[in-house]
Each structure stands twice: as structure tokens, then as C-alpha cells.
Subunit: 76 residues, 2 copies
């Protein structure tokens, strides 16, 4: 993955992530801990689609699931 | 968050996550470690939109970012 990050003054912090499969995800961290996830349109990368809003505790739970702390794939 | 999980024989494992903000996310774990993320359409929850495909290492990196291991929001 390709990761760019930057502060957004007055709002928080932004991560732009490009995956091996060429999906572009943007994660906005608000100063209060809330995260917003956006996905770029593959045909029009300036067009961002809102995906999810997560509170800090939800983001941590989701991170645990995605990261594989809860379920470990069989062949790994 | 509301979490349901189930094995998918021959494929892997599935998590269904409903957030406080009423978004429904599905994460499919393939046995080889690959994850696929889908989002349910709010008006038609049976309609799933493909969002992202992640290899195991990408999923772990993304989990670290979302979970706040990389950037900690200011007021937390």
C-alpha cells in the first residue's frame, strides 16, 4: 500500500491509502476521534464516495477484525 | 457496533458489522488471507457494494491506521 498523510488544520488528520488492487481510500481523523472513510471513484479519482463514519471505539473494533486479531485465516 | 460472524464453507469467514451510524459493512476473509469489504445500500440492505480488496499485509496496515496505532486524535 501507498500511504500519504497530512494534517488538516482545524479538523484533524487525513490518510490517503492506495491498495495493490488500485482502490483509493481516504480516512479523515477528526480531533474528537471520529473517523470518516471515503472511497475514490476509479474512473474519476476526484469524486469521493462516503463509506463509513466510526467513533473511536468502533474504529478500534473494526481495526481488530480487519487486522486479524479476531479471526485468523486458515492458511496463514 | 453490532457484529455477526459465520464460517463460509470452502471460502473462509464472514463478519457483518453494523455501526452506530447505521452503516452495514461486510468483511469476507478468504482462507488465503485476502479480505474483501462490502457496504450495504442503506435503502436496500440486500444490495451489497464492493469497496475494497486487501491482501493480509495491507489489511494489517490499514487496521493499524484505522485503529489509531499510527495517528492518535488530539483530544483522546
Amino acid at each position: 500500500v501507498n500511504i500519504h498523510e497530512a494534517d488538516i488544520p482545524g479538523i484533524g488528520h487525513k490518510f490517503q491509502i492506495e491498495t495493490r488492487n488500485q482502490e483509493k481510500l481516504v480516512i479523515i481523523f477528526h480531533d474528537d476521534g471520529r473517523r470518516e472513510l471515503y472511497l475514490a471513484d476509479k474512473r474519476n479519482p476526484d469524486e469521493m464516495q462516503f463509506i463509513l463514519q466510526l467513533d473511536d471505539d468502533e474504529a478500534r473494533q473494526l481495526a481488530g477484525i480487519i487486522g486479524g486479531m479476531s479471526y485468523i485465516p486458515k492458511t496463514l
